[in-house]
Amino acid sequence: MSDQTVQDNTPLPDDPESAANSEANPEPARLPLTGIRVIDLGTFLAGPHAASVLGEFGAEVLKVEHPIAGDPMRRFGTPTKRHDATLVWLSEARNRKSVTLDLHQPEGVQLFLRLIGKSDVLIENFRPGTMEAWGLGWPELSAANPRLIYLRVSGYGQTGPYRHRSGFAHIAHAFGGLSYLAGFPGETPVLPGTVPLGDYFSSLYGAIGILMALRHRDKSGRGQIIDVGIYEAVFRQLDEIAASYGLLGKVREREGSGSFVAVPHGHFRTQDDKWIAIACTTDKMFERLAEAMERPELASSALYGEQRKRLAARNEVNQIVTEWVGSLPRTTVLNRCLDKEVPVGKLNSIADIFEDEHFQARGNLVTLEEPGLGEVVVPGVTPTLSMTPGRVHNLGPALGNATYEVMRELLGLAADDIKRLRQRKII
């Protein structure tokens, strides 16, 4: 599979049953997706992250790429000494083998259909119509393999008037209603956290669809199509925004660092110019905060004991908390809040995260040794399964590192044929 060190990045020290805990036996004999072959024909992250999760839990993932340039994600993000791999590629193309194949050439398409015949899942994220233009529509794919499960992710989905528009997560955040909400009221809307959030969301829905479809296939013997628009995945995150507009005509606006549901619920600056988050979702939480502030009277029914009253007096309550937090260093605020069990947390930068003992204890940062690059640290597997924890066994592969193996062993091509295909740049 790979000459890299096998790492079990999800230790479960409390779980003696799990064979995966043992250093000597870092991987259970069987993972949930052992024996499942996934073809990842996508680019960047929307869709491919689904392949990553499936790969973490045992599936074999073949990344099919154009022979010349490969996935553009190889060039997106911070470059490394490896000319075909940025850091994004190394982390997010984890657990894959790379197979080059030119689908603009008829012979490439024929080989691809043979590969589909040997696979369980196909993931792609071209603009709708691209696969069909190559002669790889659903009729051709399902003729090659009636059991195929086909995840299609695109900016706007496979149907509807905008289906042909180009879509990235950034556009989907805007179109799906998330970007409008990020920033201060009346001011410039900012990027909500990270650039590819919507790519992860849409991939997660896609992976869920694939697992559902696998169950259905076990019973019926038939595959099916999963159609995800990135914007839909973003929109689905927005709790009751649709219901409250539908019922009350309320248009939610940007809320700065706060929230419409609760007060105090936001980000506050500490005396040493750092930031903490406080979330008093319920009255009980506010009572605890008032105790931490040594002002229990604030939580009386006459003052701000009820969420309704705090929402009505949002500015005054936030001002009181802002002043208290601003009068103390971050560590002091945190400790006082934690003593009283107030929901509180540091706004961690990545430097904070690397120092954090909890991230260490949970194995959230996994280190792999990459030839020529040394140690590369990437986020570990989530979620953690007690019997069959997932694993990161290799980082983003070199372009075409498994082309020969797949053509020879999986498709049974002769060495001469493979040589000829290479010369014609079909593979």
Partner: protein
Amino acid sequence: MSTVDETELPLAGILVIDVATVIAAPYCAGILGEFGAEVLKVEHPVGGDICRRYGTPTARGDTLAWLSEARNKKSVTIDLHRPDGVAVFKRLIEKADVLCENFRPGTLEKWGLSWETLHQINPGLIMLRVTGYGQTGPYKDRPGFARIAHAVGGIAYLSGMPKGTPVTPGSTTLGDYLTGLYGCLGVLMALRYREQTGIGQYIDAALYESVFRCTDELAPAYAMYGVVRERHGPTHNDFACPYGHFPTKDGKWIAIACATDKLFVRLAEAMGRPELASSGLYGEQKTRLENRHDVNEIVRDWCGSLTREEILQRCFATGAPAGPLNNIADIFGDRQFHARRNLVAIDEQDLGETIVVPSVIPRLSETPGKIRHLGPKLGQHTEEILEGLLGMGKEEISGLKKKRVI
């Protein structure tokens, strides 16, 4: 939503007990329910799930968030603080396939419902445990909400104007939904493993971990180069330019994302200034990143000279990646949302009003998920389940009721 026989849905015959609160673990149960599982929401007899009070109240009392996110569930009230309640709960566990919970670590154990006990009662049981910090590690006992998870997991620090106050990354519940999604993946994988081996397992999901998992190369870039990513404001991306939000002449906003050089060519064409994409000017990402301010200024001037609709039409004509920053009113008027039926209006007799909620995603061609009904009333199905599923007699049920165990 479809004509598919419910017994053909992927999770038909799966019984899910959702004893969790608010959104994260319950959202996992919600997805399972959309695709055919029967979901029993087990709630405290007084007040029930606090999600019933999270957000905007309706005439019935339960909030809109509850009505939408407790879709397809049946409500069964059981007081787990009472031994009689625990006994009833154990009988439900015998029949269940999946349990979703989000108590702080140690709570179920205190009630005599540890994983070991539950696993013994039902060796095939799959248990999703969602907490702020997970079941292990030094912070496991701290209270956690998505807001805190956004902070701890690193995305709150990244949201806002450079050096300005960090803002909510769009919505305070992102981390809940994300964790529901990862949790649901865990449950589906564990179901698959159980089918092969007969053995159940538990899934340990932490809100902050799901958030952290969505931070692309934040961790590898710090480890390799010591780069600490800061807040980006509206138009900053380390890898692509122009990339951000730009105001239009009519006081609205659009998003533009030129992730590759080809996309910038299309934008330059849309602007009627193809020369901008020449190699002498800004044809290459590297040059655009070095001249970020100039490039953004050019795009900003152009956007400011036209209405949102004009900009969008010109971008779509050349295939430049652009989109409106929709508010919810825009979304309700949008053809794509309607064509994809992303909004579904549900009228239920006992509500006396029509409620619009987001429909099911992902969309499966053979076995599409469905919304059968919105969030139930507290205890609406207690008797049905105790009688029908557990075979309890009427007397036993009324005895439990009198003691307020159910």
